[in-house]
């Protein structure tokens, strides 16, 4: 098998990212999460850690695609000795606050679809 024979199997970073975001949108829709994409991934990772996502092919596809995405990220960091974060620090905190508030809603109300109704903004969650 030559590399040129495998051309249709080659996945670029942009393709991995697009697939990952599409899967995350589907998971968000399934769990009634109405939060922006930058926060969504962290929320889903937290929910996965807390075993709040049901087993199935969608979850398995998302985990495999997230792993490939992380592989791209690792490779890009190993090329650049001093990589800069893609987003400013404040945004990172905001993402954490959004994710925390979403999980809090799940814990308090026990229903994932209440996240949309009760999730608070980052400023409130940060106590600003």
């Amino acid at each position: 098998m030559r590399m040129s024979d495998l051309a249709d199997c080659v996945e670029t970073f942009e393709q991995t990212k697009a697939k990952l975001e599409k899967l995350e949108e589907r998971l968000a829709s399934q769990y009634g999460l109405n939060i922006r994409s930058a926060v969504l991934r962290r929320t889903l990772l937290e929910m996965d850690s807390a075993r709040l996502l049901a087993d199935g092919s969608l979850l398995a596809d998302w985990q495999a695609t997230y792993s490939r995405y992380q592989s791209w990220v690792e490779d890009s960091w190993s090329v650049d000795p001093k990589p800069k974060p893609a987003e400013p620090e404040k945004t990172e905190k905001q993402e954490a606050a959004y994710a925390a508030s979403a999980l809090l809603c799940v814990a308090v109300f026990g229903r994932l679809d209440t996240v949309r109704q009760h999730a608070v903004g980052p400023e409130a969650a940060l106590g600003a």
Partner: protein, 170 residues
């Protein structure tokens, strides 16, 4: 549906004998899955292989292996017919034998969001640490997994047991 030819090439190259031993379980059809490759230089830096099939008795077998070339090594030349598995990392795998994915008979997983774990009886929904089982399923070769499935189907003896860590005395 037959196995995708490029999946077949990859599985034969990385795990010779895996497809044949799977077919011996009594495959009704394979699921269409596209091989995924990330390039590194002129070769392969990451490869995701999938072997998913329905068996004639309505059980399912699914093997998903993601292999990443170790840092510092050149990309794998696909013109080679075999590879040294020690030159690869395993960031993700899923070895599943079930009636359906959400209700595994037993499944061994590793993903980026936690340590290797297993789904085994009596509670297959639970994530039990893979290093607390007999046998230790961490990084299991998919050929060993298929052999385990074959033995279970033949002998009906559940192949994985939990090892409860001993409590330390105060």
């Amino acid at each position: 549906m037959p196995l995708d030819p490029k999946q077949r090439w990859a599985l034969d190259c990385f795990y010779p004998g895996l497809v044949v031993s799977t077919e011996q379980l009594g495959v009704e059809s394979f699921e269409a899955k596209t091989l995924v490759i990330h390039p590194r230089g002129e070769g392969i830096g990451l490869i995701q292989m999938e072997l998913k099939c329905a068996l004639k008795d309505k059980m399912q077998l699914a093997v998903v292996m993601q292999l990443k070339r170790k840092p510092g090594l050149p990309g794998f030349d696909p013109q080679l017919t075999s590879t040294d598995l020690t030159e690869w990392l395993y960031p993700y795998y899923s070895l599943d034998y079930s009636r359906r994915l959400s209700d595994a008979t037993f499944r061994f997983d590793l993903d980026r969001n936690g340590p290797a774990h297993v789904h085994i009886k009596p509670n297959v929904k639970d994530h039990w640490p893979a290093d607390q089982t007999t046998p230790d399923t961490r990084g299991m070769d998919p050929r060993a997994f298929v052999a385990m499935v074959a033995k279970f189907r033949r002998d009906k003896i559940y192949p994985v047991t939990r090892v409860i860590p001993k409590r330390k005395k105060p």
